[in-house]
């Protein structure tokens, strides 16, 4: 029984739906939330999910659903900013090194490889140690942490495009290096860059929530799914829902982003699975 295409269609659909839901939640959250996410209500602490608090309330009586919605906005905005910076900077460096090669390429790649030796979260941790906690630090730290792998991937994509004859044809037609990079190389590496973008977005969301979980990410009282999960730990036994909701949000977001990325990959290269 051949289920391949059917599976692809379904997973792509699911991905789009989940991503859509996420965006919808954020947009709604910009205008309306059931409660003020940081409003403390000591009469209603650790309330189980009910008609009043759909997802319950935390140890300070704050509405879990509202916090989850705000958390979505915070995490996604951080991730979007970081991803944008990483992709822009990484593409520039990757295209220059991959196309021009020579000593410039060698030096940059040596530095890049050294940076790669300090894996993502660790780099971010190190940078936050220096910069101090806060939204800007997180974005800067995550941007720098994920720059090396992006440069690597873009560079290798550029190098394989460079081997194709139409690049030589461009030179023979009289085009300069800059023109060739813009007109010929860039459009042809767009698919891998877009796919890389979704991957990076996923990594950043995960890293930011991990950092917040560890206590070095988004500082309270601002909610991030990560720090919500962290503060839910002491109440694991009597308020289970507090441990489930934030984690579920992260998982669903990541699933949506990953499936969406897969769908894009298949759309650009449908030969892969057929």
């Amino acid at each position: 029984m051949r289920v391949g295409r059917w599976h692809l269609r379904w997973s792509a659909l699911l991905g789009c739906v989940l991503v859509g839901l996420l965006l919808l939640t954020i947009v709604i959250g910009l205008f309306w939330m059931p409660f003020n996410p940081i409003a403390i209500d000591l009469d209603n602490t650790l309330a189980h999910p009910s008609a009043r608090h759909w997802l319950g309330s935390d140890e300070f009586g704050r509405d879990e659903l509202s916090r989850a919605m705000l958390g979505a906005r915070i995490s996604v905005f951080i991730a979007a900013e970081a991803t944008m910076f990483v992709i822009l900077m990484g593409t520039t460096v990757g295209v220059l090194t991959g196309f021009l090669r020579g000593w410039f390429d060698r030096i940059v790649m040596m530095v890049n490889d050294a940076l790669l030796a300090l894996p993502g979260i660790l780099m971010a941790l190190g940078l936050i140690a220096v910069l101090g906690p806060g939204r800007e630090s997180i974005i800067l730290a995550l941007t720098l942490a994920y720059l090396p792998p992006v440069v690597r991937v873009v560079r290798s994509a550029v190098m394989s495009v460079r081997e194709r004859e139409f690049i030589d044809a461009s030179t023979v037609a009289g085009d300069g290096a800059l023109y060739t990079m813009f007109r010929h190389v860039l459009p042809n590496i767009l698919p891998p860059i877009l796919i890389l973008g979704t991957s990076v977005f996923g990594w950043v969301v995960l890293s930011e929530s991990a950092l917040s979980f560890l206590g070095v990410g988004v500082p309270p009282p601002a909610p991030s799914w990560g720090n919500m999960l962290s503060s839910a730990r002491p109440y694991m036994e009597n308020a289970i829902y507090l441990s489930i909701v934030p984690g579920l949000c992260i998982a669903v977001t990541l699933l949506g982003v990953n499936l969406f990325g897969d769908a894009m990959r298949d759309w650009f290269d449908p030969r892969k699975d057929s």
């Binding site: 295409r5 004859e165 139409f166 030589d168 044809a169 023979v172 037609a173 009289g174």
Partner: protein, 538 residues
């Protein structure tokens, strides 16, 4: 129903795609043919003819997404299509052996050669390790591998393409099958190797009494080795019979077309004036590549082209012939300014390329153009045909309207009128190559370097494109440096030919002289290795 005189009988074989949804596409329709014991049968066709699928279907090795829909396949009276997988596995290798096309991918790179040779033997015969080793060594000697002992212990990547094909042959013939299926076994090898490997295969098959089924697109090989031939076009059998009959008195129009597309000696070649001005001069050119750096970081330069002298006059077509690795492509790239000379000079219109000013370089780009080999890689997939073709005009004077006009003019000339808005992936290989040609002539260059422009195309398409090139050359009058490995193409279109081997020109002169009165032994070997049609002048 099986013909008792035949070893292999294929009856009304039908192969189609198995899509997830939608209608299956028929790839091979009602093919019936037979191979007698010890017979040599060739299946001839171009891409899309279904010949490879037919060969794979025999042992049920069709790729995923494609399946045999109906038809029988009988080997020695046994219905192969009705065998269980276990029984079929016993047939594979022991009764039917298969040689594939890509020597670079035909052997497992992670396994030593000796082990791969032994695998089949261990499976089908009950032999002691020493016996297996002895048989393997003997067979390797037979296929002319120089150091069989070392070969057993080595990995495939240590061998060249030609040697890998021999190892493949050895591995298959060790099992002594009754039928050998060879799917374009030498297409990926260069001319000299092709001949050697094919001769070896035929010899081995003859000695061991093995029937051979050769899948090929090359009529030259068919005429040389095959007793009978089956001609396929787009999944249908159009003609079959003895080789002599089919090739000398073809019944079907497609067969006729196929035979006619063989490059033939042109009898009415346009002779350029003897005193036409020299447009390109290559003098003592040497080109080196930076070698691989060893662990100290030192790179040893590796010479690709040694002291080459070559002259081109306006209106002349000079062919540069050689095997892969001979340096011909590198030289072509140097002429276009894509590679620097390490010594010597290339002069265009009297001016050395190395000393051109920026302004003069721009002019050079308009006057000299290059047609690339691979139609699938030389066009930017993200650009429309119109933009691709007009690219060389970008830096030239003229309004946008004038350039547009010129673009549609040139597209009409190559037989692709109104194609400006299309994308490359919508077009066939032959059409793409026409686009490449259009791009090369749009600026009315005085020199065109054509780097194996037809090697990647089917036979009938090759013929069309070559004719187009000839016509354009006659009309525009540009000088053409035609780089190729195929001597028969040279015969058809070149006025002069230079033969390259190991980075040096070993012989050059007028085409007729070099091809019919060759002086150098390399030229002679190359000529001997180029198969011709039976009946053509030799």
């Amino acid at each position: 129903m099986s013909d008792p005189t035949k070893l292999l009988t294929v009856n009304r074989l039908r192969i189609a795609t198995v899509p997830q949804h939608g209608v299956p596409r028929v790839l091979l329709e009602d093919l019936s043919f037979g191979v007698a014991p010890k017979e040599f049968l060739a299946i001839v066709g171009e891409s899309g003819s279904g010949k490879t699928l037919a060969s794979r279907a025999i042992m049920d090795l069709l790729p995923p997404g494609v399946a045999r829909v109906s038809g029988d396949i009988l080997l020695d009276g046994r219905e192969l299509t009705k065998l269980t997988p276990l029984e079929l596995r016993k047939v594979r290798g022991a009764q039917v052996g298969m040689v594939f096309q890509e020597p670079m991918a035909s052997l497992n790179p992670a396994m030593k050669v000796g082990r791969q040779l032994a695998e089949g033997l261990k499976l089908h015969r009950n032999l002691a390790p020493e016996e297996i080793r002895a048989l393997s060594l003997a067979m390797l000697k037979r296929v002319q591998i120089r150091d069989p002992e070392r070969c057993l212990k080595s990995y495939p990547h240590e061998f060249s393409g030609g040697m890998r094909q021999r190892i493949m042959l050895a591995s298959i013939l060790l099992l002594k099958p009754k039928l050998l299926i060879a799917d374009e076994p030498t297409t990926a090898l260069d001319t000299l190797n092709q001949r050697d490997v094919l001769e070896l295969m035929v010899e081995l098959a003859r000695d061991s009494g093995v029937a051979t089924l050769l899948i090929t697109h090359d009529l030259g090989l068919v005429s040389r080795y095959a007793e009978r031939v089956v001609v396929l076009e787009k999944g249908k059998l159009v003609e079959t019979g003895t080789t002599k009959q089919v090739l000398t008195q073809p019944a079907h129009s497609y067969t006729k077309r196929l035979i006619d597309s063989r490059p033939a000696r042109a009898l009415d070649k346009h002779q350029p004036a003897e005193d036409a001005p020299v447009i390109l001069e290559i003098e003592k050119a040497c080109i080196s590549y930076e070698g691989r750096a060893n662990w100290l970081g030192k790179a040893v330069p590796h010479k690709i082209v040694h002291d080459v002298d070559l002259t081109l006059r306006i209106g002349q077509i000079v062919a540069l012939v050689g095997a892969s690795g001979s340096g011909k492509t590198t030289l072509g790239r140097a002429v276009m300014g894509l590679k620097e000379l390490s010594s010597g000079a290339i002069r265009f219109d009297g001016k050395s390329l190395a000393s051109l000013t920026k302004q003069e370089s721009k002019r050079y780009r308009a006057e000299a153009q290059l047609i690339f080999q691979d139609p699938f890689s030389s066009l930017d997939p993200r650009m429309r045909v119109g933009d691709i073709v007009a690219a060389p005009l970008r830096r030239l004077p003229g309004s946008a309207a004038e350039h547009r006009q010129r673009t549609s003019e040139v597209l009409a000339e190559v037989g692709l009128p109104e194609y400006e808005m299309r994308y490359p992936h919508e077009m066939s290989g032959g059409q793409r190559q026409r686009v490449a040609i259009a791009r090369a002539i749009i600026s009315r260059p005085r020199l065109v370097v054509a780097d194996e422009p037809v090697s990647a195309l089917d036979m009938t398409i090759q013929a069309q494109v070559l004719k187009l090139l000839q016509k354009l050359q006659r009309e525009y009058g540009f000088a053409c440096l035609f780089i190729t490995h195929d001597l028969s193409v040279v015969e058809q279109i070149a006025d002069e030919v230079a033969v390259m081997s190991g980075g040096r020109i070993v012989e050059q002169g007028a085409t007729d002289e070099v091809l019919y009165r060759p002086q150098h032994e390399y030229t002679r070997a190359l000529l001997a290795a180029t198969p011709r049609l039976a009946g053509a002048a030799d």
